[in-house]
């Protein structure tokens, strides 16, 4: 019975995962990915990992909301009115994806899998809490510091105000002597797709 649910959820997760790259609407793509995560979360709940499963749902709802907004924000042609193809190296990608699937599936099918399911009377959530926030808290502290560094880095990267001026205007360091060349390495001008120049600097 449980296996039937797991099979259905696995198929749903794979199908919605596939839909992510097949739908036209960016909002649908994001929420398709969200559904794929939800299916994995539900599998977690079925396989006696309720905290992991429900936390996945909680976290992914928020993440995919943000994802949808960014998708709409940055995609050109947001309405999808002009037909467009946004893929490159298509064959290589299909090959790589299929090869990855084949290798992993073969590993899953050919290796001897362990068989030691979670005992039904185990207090899994309490165990996780003790492990996570127990005497050493190593994982928790590492994750905490990493996330803090991420937050600082993300704010610095995305803010407009750079160290030497507005980020969209070059933000070049001043010269070593007054009026001299900017300090540091000089950028080459070859990079970039289409390039708006906002005022001169130098």
């Amino acid at each position: 019975m449980r296996d039937a649910f797991v099979i259905a959820l696995v198929l749903f997760a794979v199908w919605t995962g596939w839909r992510v790259f097949r739908v036209d609407s960016m909002v649908r793509a994001s929420f398709s990915l969200m559904l794929s995560f939800f299916a994995v979360g539900a599998i977690g709940v079925l396989l006696s990992a309720p905290y992991i499963g429900v936390a996945t749902v909680f976290m992914m709802a928020v993440e995919m909301m943000v994802m949808a907004i960014f998708m709409v924000m940055f995609m050109m042609n947001p309405a999808g009115l002009n037909p467009m193809s946004m893929v490159h190296q298509h064959r290589l990608s299909i090959g790589a994806g299929a090869a990855a699937f084949a290798a992993l599936a073969a590993a899953a099918l050919l290796s001897e899998l362990p068989d030691a399911p979670v005992p039904t009377d185990k207090a899994v959530v309490a165990d996780l809490g003790h492990e996570l926030l127990g005497p050493s808290m190593l994982i928790f502290e590492t994750a905490g510091v990493t996330l803090l560094a991420t937050m600082v880095g993300a704010v610095i990267l995305s803010s407009r105000q750079g160290r030497y001026g507005m980020a969209d205007q070059g933000s070049r360091p001043p010269g070593l002597e007054p009026g001299g060349e900017p300090a540091g390495r000089q950028p080459d001008e070859s990079g970039g797709g289409h390039h708006h120049d906002h005022g001169g600097h130098g």
Partner: protein
Amino acid sequence: MSATLPLLVLLTLAAGAWLAAWLDRLIATGRIEPLAPLRVGAALLLRQRVTTEAPDAMNWRLAPAWYLALAAVGLSVVPFAPGAALIDSPVGIVVWGSCEALTVVTVFLHGWSPNAPFPLIGAYRYAAIGLPVMLPSMFVLIAAALPAESLSLVAVVESQREAWNLVRQPLGLPLFLLVGLTLTLRGPFDYADGEDLAGGTSAEDSGPGRALWQLARLAMLVAFSAMAAAVFLGGPLGPWLPGPVWLWLKTAGIMALTVAAGHWLARTTPGRMLTLLWVGLLPLSFLHLAIAGALAL
């Protein structure tokens, strides 16, 4: 008890939604008309459902249904009697948190799908306000879980036998009320469906679709009030009366408070509200959690 729980949840949802609509009218106009919510619903059901040009029809139809389903799931984790919740999950608080987060997604979809400018602006605005509101919400709920040493709502209710969390953590309920106003698109936090956007995400709703959306908002109010009653007012705990009755009474009290706050508090501009949320309420809720943690030690 356990066989009647699904019935109790449905009954609470339906009766609560009616009570919420009635309270809404009572506080807005001061008129006591018990049938008014049903009449308004009937009037909407009799009207045509209009569509816009090139909408995302699937999501437009599904959004109100999801909202209603989230309210039902949220209410199912609330214990109706000590030790008896329909979904007796060891992580009930996280289940409720997921319902909150998905509410933001649902309201966004509701505004996105009609393919019209005002609903879309409402949807983006709600996402911008709703995401930062999730953070105080989780801090407040985790603070309430600390004395219980469990994420299960049954345990959180049990832990309030001696003193309600309202007494132990007085900041919790006011902060959680703000979350409730956001989840139910009410008053000072109604950035999705405001008057300045001609109804925002529901500006293009008509007929049965509109009726369902309004019903879902009311149902979410019921679920939120029951959750607040269980987390801060001891839920079904109380002398003389049976558990469900206590829960209903406390839920109705929180509901009246939320409806009144929705009608009597002015809504500021979204930019200022964002500043208030990140700079004011987030540190405040963190302080609340720190105090609750220190007390629980």
